[in-house]
């Protein structure tokens, strides 16, 4: 060992001391382990993948989507692995329209993680309301009351701005028709959509009266629940409460190929977190290159993954594409050592033409097995321009 080695050792060894309480940390670790074990047990016993798939078929069936058959898969005996092979074929090309036309897609990614509670609800009422201008809007209004100086180019013809208008909104009440994890059927979810306008270019209602929707509550750190794209809080009395649907929800899953495993390995249960698909809507980061800019040639709203950490251009058989390495949060439960692969294929509309984007996740079972979130997986994505 050289002097430098010794010096480095010395510096690292003397870099502070953790003053936390091992016992407290152990209590938290043990609590988390117990809760997750309970949750896992619940998933397998109360719902089961086959039941979930059946629910999904039923719900999607009511939507009249172009839906491929979803096999009713049963976990292999002795394992808790599940394949999720549904194929979704969205009828609308534009992701934004797609999200509007198929609100289910806002919640399906959440469902796919199927690590949590699954609810089916039916819209039982909808009410048009007007939300008063916000404090920010009023502040902007008052701040713009001062006319420009007389010699300013805009001084001529200047008029004081109009006061802010109320925002049209719609409130949907969704009654839970099927629920799990002790959430009573009959509980209601209130969803609020802002800026609802009709036939004049504005967004149409995301939800429709009488239709059923799949809701995906997700347990948060505080023990409350969020639902898919919207946010829902599950109160202690069992009621799901308060949702604001974001108009920014544009992510959707066009096709999920299912899990692929290396030869000889067990099947992989995998899923995609809602955040991964609708990251923008959740206020996380969209596609962002290492320099803070979207990779060249990729529309910013095309990918909604948190934390895109690097990009580089590559050439593909059909032309130039983009390949990126992203830190991707997904829910992946490799059941055996090895590299697993999950493919997601999306269709996006770019310049009026469809493109398929295929993402390949190389998932290394480095210890995140069973966890609801893992990170660090390399995400490769490539996009090809339209064939000439």
């Amino acid at each position: 060992m050289t002097d430098l080695d010794k010096e480095i050792e010395g510096v690292l060894a003397t870099q502070g001391e953790w003053k936390g309480s091992p016992e407290e940390v152990w209590q938290r670790v043990e609590g988390k382990i117990r809760r997750r074990q309970q949750r896992k047990k619940w998933q397998l016993s109360a719902l089961g993948a086959s039941v979930a798939a059946a629910v999904l078929v039923a719900v999607l069936g009511t939507k009249g989507l172009n839906l491929a058959t979803i096999p009713n898969r049963t976990p292999p005996a002795g394992t808790d692995t599940v394949e999720l092979p549904p194929v979704f074929a969205p009828p609308v090309d534009d992701p934004a329209n797609h999200a509007r036309a198929n609100p289910l897609f806002n919640t399906l990614p959440g469902f796919l993680s199927h690590a949590q509670v699954v609810l089916v609800g039916q819209v039982v009422s909808e009410t048009d309301i007007e939300l008063p201008p916000t404090a920010d809007q009023w502040q902007t209004y008052y701040a713009s009351q001062t006319p420009p100086p007389p010699d300013h180019p805009k001084a001529q013809g200047w008029r004081p701005p109009e006061p802010p208008s109320p925002t049209p909104a719609k409130v949907f009440t969704i009654q839970v028709t099927e629920g799990t994890k002790g959430i009573a059927t009959g509980a209601t979810v209130t969803m609020q959509q802002l800026n609802v306008t009709y036939a004049n270019g504005g967004p149409e209602p995301l939800l429709r009266l009488g239709e059923q929707y799949l809701l995906f509550p997700r347990e948060t750190k505080t023990g409350s629940y969020e639902v898919g794209a919207p946010y829902v809080t599950l109160r202690e009395d069992g009621r799901l409460h308060v949702v604001t649907l974001s108009q920014g929800v544009a992510g959707y899953l066009q096709e999920l190929d299912g899990a692929e495993t290396a030869p000889g390995l067990a099947k992989v249960r995998f899923a995609v977190r809602a955040e991964a698909i609708i990251g923008t809507a959740l206020g996380k980061v969209g596609l962002q290159g290492a320099d803070g800019e979207p990779p060249s040639g990729v529309p910013f709203d095309m990918v909604h993954f948190p934390r895109f950490v690097g990009t580089r251009s590559v050439c593909t058989e059909t032309g130039t594409g983009v390949r990126g390495i992203a830190s991707y949060e997904s829910s992946v439960w490799p059941q055996a050592a090895g590299v697993h692969e999950v493919r997601l294929i999306r269709r996006v509309s770019l310049a009026g033409q469809d493109h398929e984007t295929k993402w390949v996740f190389q998932v290394e079972p480095d210890g995140s097995v069973g966890g609801p979130v893992r990170s660090g997986s390399d995400l490769s994505l490539s996009r090809c321009p339209p064939r000439q």
């Binding site: 480095i8 690292l12 870099q15 502070g16 830190s327 050592a337 480095d366 995140s368």
Partner: protein, 182 residues
């Protein structure tokens, strides 16, 4: 109870058997995470989550293999993930290094040694994440290159290369220091 026996019990779902493993590695895990992310709260969270995940995935652990590299792979990944999540991956060197003062040491020697260590610590912090992590795993955790390769999921040759580069940079930084002092 022997580590491997505890792991075997954990693999059958016995969370209690995990407790001795937890206590045996906690301090080191937190400190490792801290050296990577430079934030004690993130480090503690990372270690905590890493142990949860380690237990959940312990069935994937192959008995007979060393446990520490397997565990620290999770710790390192968690530390990086949380640091990225909180955008708190510190790269600035604010802290001074504590230096134990020997009774026989002159004040000048103490100051000189402290300056040198400060400079080395700043140089370690100035390394990019990849290089800093291998330095931490090598000189704090005392992992072999093969074990570091396991922890990071990299070929050993790349670990060797990163270590070499990192050491070169650290040596260069100390070279600067010598010039200044002399």
């Amino acid at each position: 109870m022997e580590e491997q026996a505890l792991i075997e019990k954990c693999q059958s779902g016995d969370a209690k058997a995990f407790e001795p493993l937890f206590h045996a590695h906690l301090q080191m895990a937190v400190k490792t995470a801290y050296l990577i992310v430079r934030d004690w709260s993130i480090a503690e969270d990372a270690a905590q989550e890493a142990f949860v995940r380690a237990f959940e995935s312990i069935r994937a652990f192959r008995l007979g293999r060393p446990f520490a590299p397997w565990l620290y792979r999770i710790v390192v990944n968690e530390a990086k993930r949380l640091a990225a999540k909180r955008s708190r991956l510190a790269t600035t060197a604010q802290d001074s290094v504590e230096v134990l003062v020997a009774d026989t040491e002159t004040p000048e020697a103490t100051v000189s040694r402290r300056e040198r260590r400060d400079m080395l610590w700043r140089a370690i912090l100035a390394l990019n994440d990849d290089h800093r992590v291998v330095i931490v795993l090598k000189y704090f955790n005392h992992f072999s290159e093969a074990e570091i390769a396991t922890v990071l999921g990299l070929p050993q040759s790349r670990v060797k290369s990163r270590l070499y580069t990192a050491r070169q940079r650290l040596a260069a930084s100390l070279g600067d220091w010598k010039e200044v002092v002399l």
